[in-house]
């Protein structure tokens, strides 16, 4: 029977009450007394030298208080990058300065050139038009292959526009080449992982405020990780120590990765608030979001899979061009490398893997993590090449996968690409998915479609991801400039209610509900007794934030550690009050009992005693009941699963209709099945959106041609069937106390290859072997025509 509270219950999301009634408090809902409105004048060319920038006339416009350009920010640092990749020669990546406002050169359409502060937004916008800006255009670097020629340089000091050239696993390079040369069969595929715009429902916003009397700065911002912003901005950009800088990320309306990073606008409003002595507010328009939020994916890959005569995978080799955009966003370098190369084993026993990644600067918006971040790119190429191999060899794609799966008894499994999977059962999720998708009935459905002149296809994909990032020692060795633990304080109040202060940040994930379920389950209390506080560096002791599906696995574990400390201390207090040995105290269902007796104390009695320590072991124990933990995981977690997609293609129009989609995931233990299901649905919508519809298109001049919802096709409910989601195949994570793995990104990782494999299956009779995403009607129709010709 499903539980009705605690871990395993589908408790309704408590935060929805405020979200659904319009009572959420987002950054743009906040208005500070005397605030000024900020508008950025942004470059409308992709690449050029600033020949003239005269703000005098604009500064005299009505309502204008100040206009700032790069020269006003000379004492301010650039936007820092949080991850350093070392290239194949052991040299550090090229890390050109990313100024807050463009210095001398503009490098992408949307690059901010000047900031206007005025009494109203309209006045600021009007003044922007009066700024005399002349840009001497330079040839735009857009295509990655052309960029490598270095004819035009995004950064004058980065030859060939090459940020780094990375090889992994370098020692395997020759062995992989040898294995491929001698293999019975090699399948090769060239593919594009299309660039995406994150499109959270809430555009970014930031408010800076400075209290001169206390010399304190406050930044309200749409962030997934306020402590990380405090660290990056305080230490590297504005030189403000932590105790003088408060960063608040209140309700945040979705991030999908794009709100992890420290952005120039945040630093500017914080700096400007002090410079002009008034609060400064900026809210992005949707157009600005398209031009200034870090974008995702954008890989061009060649992959080769070598198989022996028995169809065992013997080696895998990939070459990838990864677009960095014009500047290095906070975590950009780690996405195509450590979050991508380390996942190339997938769910399989492939013994030899080698990948080469060239990261390239172009005159486009910076690229960084987007839901899945590196793992979708790895999964897509792997699951596509395996499917192609199966087709070339006349094998059942499910059987070829099954044959090469890491068997369930092989865990912990050391992959050849650094990571060690702790647990998994890939055959179980594949069996489950095929059963749910009624694979056996497909032939009949295909015949029925054919009778109507439609092509029906059945596609599957397995995936694995590395979540819950991660052990600080490991990521440090790989180039991270921060630790990746999480912190939590659990404060038990005198009457027994509980306040949890977590460094994780909820912007759609439902932490306020899920974390309360965990604590209530451990303490045997009502979930309503537990309050979850997040998103404010002045309230939460510390934190690293939410990304990489890490909140429950890492942030939840920190909470568990603190609750365990609370229980241990409470047992000591109970032992004293019950005049029993500490070892004899048992705690269950909110009751402390002496083993073998009916002597018992309630939770509330012990909590009160901690704060009213009249009868208290004061010599051994401090009063109060509050504990803080920093949890640094021993390993990543490895959620995995199998997805099946069934499509119908209209050969006359090329239109793809998703008929059925099944997701069987192993997320380890599940705290709230309803929220997990919601997370998977959202991930699937984004993954299928990438596969079918979404595409960020730059023209040859570097203009973003798909920069509004007229041209950037977001998925709508009508584009998909109702998804069938299962998470009953459970192999609990072995190294975190909850046995959880993370579920936030899975849907976006596993669904693109499942859909493309299904469409290729549908078109196989026409001889189509690959189509690059998004599989728009035009592309599908053209592929059919090309195959016919």
């Amino acid at each position: 029977m499903p539980k009705d509270h605690g871990i395993g219950a589908s408790s309704k999301r408590r935060e929805d009450i405020r979200f659904l009634t319009g009572k959420g408090q987002y950054t743009d809902d906040i208005n500070r007394p005397g605030q000024l409105y900020c508008h950025f004048l942004r470059s409308d060319v992709a690449h050029g030298r600033i020949a003239k920038l005269d703000t005098a006339a604009a500064a005299a416009m009505p309502g204008v208080v100040a206009i700032h350009t790069a020269q006003d920010l000379a004492a301010v640092g650039g936007v820092p990058c949080g991850w350093q990749v070392t290239d194949k020669n052991g040299e550090a990546m090229k890390e050109p300065k990313h100024p807050i406002l463009a210095e001398g050169k503009v490098r992408h359409v949307g690059d901010p050139v000047a900031a206007i502060l005025a009494e109203s937004l309209e006045q600021a916008q009007d003044a922007a038009e009066a700024i005399e800006l002349e840009i001497e255009e330079l040839p735009a670097v857009v295509d990655m292959k052309a960029a490598l020629s270095g004819e035009s340089l995004v950064h004058d000091d980065v030859p060939g526009n090459l940020c780094f050239d990375w090889e992994f696993v370098q020692e395997n390079k020759d062995a992989v080449a040898e294995a491929i040369a001698g293999a019975a069969h090699v399948t090769r595929l060239e593919l594009v992982n299309n660039r995406l715009v994150a499109n959270p429902m809430e555009p970014r916003a930031a408010i800076g405020e400075y209290d001169a009397a206390r010399d304190e700065h406050t930044l309200w911002t749409t962030s997934q990780n306020p402590h990380v912003i405090r660290l990056l901005m305080g230490a590297f950009v504005l030189s403000i120590p932590e105790h003088k800088l408060r960063v608040v990320a209140p309700d945040v309306g979705g991030g999908f990765g794009s709100k992890i990073y420290h952005y120039a606008e945040e630093a500017y409003v914080t700096w400007a608030a002090k410079a002009v002595g008034r609060p400064v507010k900026w809210t992005a328009s949707r157009s600005e979001a398209f031009l200034s939020d870090a974008q995702g994916r954008d890989h061009v890959t060649t992959i080769e899979l070598a198989l022996d005569a028995e169809h065992n995978f013997v080696a895998l080799r990939c070459h990838t061009l990864a677009n960095m955009g014009a500047y290095l966003s906070t975590f950009a370098p780690c996405i195509p490398t450590w979050l991508h190369g380390t996942l190339l084993a997938g769910n399989y026993r492939t013994p030899l893997i080698f990948t080469n990644v060239q990261a390239i600067f172009t005159n486009t918006v910076p690229v960084d993590a987007y839901r899945g971040a590196g793992r979708p790119e790895a999964t897509f190429q792997l699951e596509r090449v395996i499917d192609k191999a199966a087709r070339e060899l006349g094998l059942d794609p499910a059987e070829l996968r099954r044959k090469n799966f890491i068997p369930p008894d092989a865990f912990p499994y050391q992959t050849p690409v650094a990571v060690q999977y702790d647990t998994g059962n890939y055959g179980a999720t594949l069996d489950k998915a095929l059963e749910m998708a009624d694979a056996a009935g497909f032939a009949a459905r295909k015949a029925e479609s054919a009778a109507r002149g439609k092509l029906r296809g059945f596609g599957l994909a397995s995936y694995i991801e590395a979540c819950g990032i991660a052990p600080s020692s490991l990521v440090g060795a790989l180039g991270a400039r921060a630790g990746l633990y999480e912190a939590a304080t659990v404060r038990v109040n005198p009457t027994g209610s509980i306040s949890v202060f977590t460094g994780s940040h909820s912007h759609g994930q439902g932490h306020e509900t899920t974390f309360a379920q965990v604590v209530a389950d451990m303490l045997g209390c009502d979930e309503g007794q537990v309050d979850i506080v997040h998103g404010d560096t002045n309230r939460v002791p510390f934190g690293m934030g939410t990304y990489g599906s890490r909140s429950l696995a890492v942030g939840g574990s920190a909470i568990v550690k603190s609750v365990e400390k609370i229980v241990a201390k409470a047992k000591k207090i109970a032992a004293h009050l019950l005049e029993a040995a500490e070892g004899d105290i048992q705690f269950a269902d909110g009751q402390f009992t002496v083993a073998g007796t009916d002597n018992a104390l309630g939770w509330g009695d012990v909590c009160l005693a901690a704060y009213v320590p009249h009868k208290y072991p004061i010599e051994e124990l401090e009063p109060g009941l509050e504990e803080t933990s920093f949890y640094d995981p021993a390993n990543f977690t490895y959620p995995a699963g199998a997805y099946v997609c069934e499509v119908e293609v209209d050969p006359e129009t090329g239109r793809v209709e998703v008929q059925n989609f099944v997701a069987a995931d192993d997320f380890g233990n599940v705290v709230n099945p309803m929220i997990v299901e919601g997370q998977v649905h959202g991930g699937l919508a984004q993954g299928l959106g990438q596969a079918l519809l979404e595409n960020a298109v730059y023209d040859a001049e570097g203009q973003l041609a798909s920069a509004s919802y007229m041209d950037y096709a977001m998925p709508r409910a009508a584009d998909f069937p109702s998804f069938a989601v299962d998470h009953s195949c459970v192999t609990p994570c072995t190294h975190n106390p909850l046995g959880v793995k993370g579920c936030g990104e899975a849907g976006a990782i596993g669904s693109p290859p499942a859909l493309v494999n299904a469409v290729i299956d549908a078109l196989s009779e026409h001889g189509v072997s690959h189509i690059d995403m998004p599989l728009t009607p035009t592309r599908v129709w053209e592929a059919i025509q090309a195959a016919k010709a």
Partner: protein
Amino acid sequence: MEMSGERVIEAPRDQVWAALNDPEVLKACIPGCQELEKTSETGFAATVKQKVGPVSATFKGAVELTDIVPGESYTIAGEGKGGAAGFAKGGAKVHLSDLPEGTKLSYEAEAKVGGKLAQLGSRLIDGFAKKMADQFFDRFKAEVEGPAETRNGTDADAANAPDAAEAPAEAAKADAAPVVAPEKKKSWLGRIIGS
């Protein structure tokens, strides 16, 4: 976006060339042109008001004539800034040659946009640019040729013979279909209004 085309203008080449260099003619021919002032021997300052899809703006910029071969060819290039709307720039290589019936004007034009125009209107730009070029050269032809009645009627008709032969045919086809429709329309409309 690149386009090319040609027009047959019933006027002598030197007259066409003079018109190509006449600010008043250019002003009348550039769609949406509100001002065009000569700033140098080969340059003009222009103000053009245009709407591309959802973006409407007044573009201020310069028009420059280069690669001038008097009486034969030049390149006309313009760049306009539309403030928050972004920018548009374009140019055309224009070449004149003699024909028995007058002058052949051929052109190769290109157009680029940036900023909000590109972000919101990229889908529309190709069609828009083609329309702009068509309008410009149609107007230019009309401007140079002047009103039809002042011209030599028979020659003009002869020169336009192929077009004229096709045009009525098209018109007849176009007319043929609606012949039924208006009748139907009349009948249901008639029922409603009772007549």
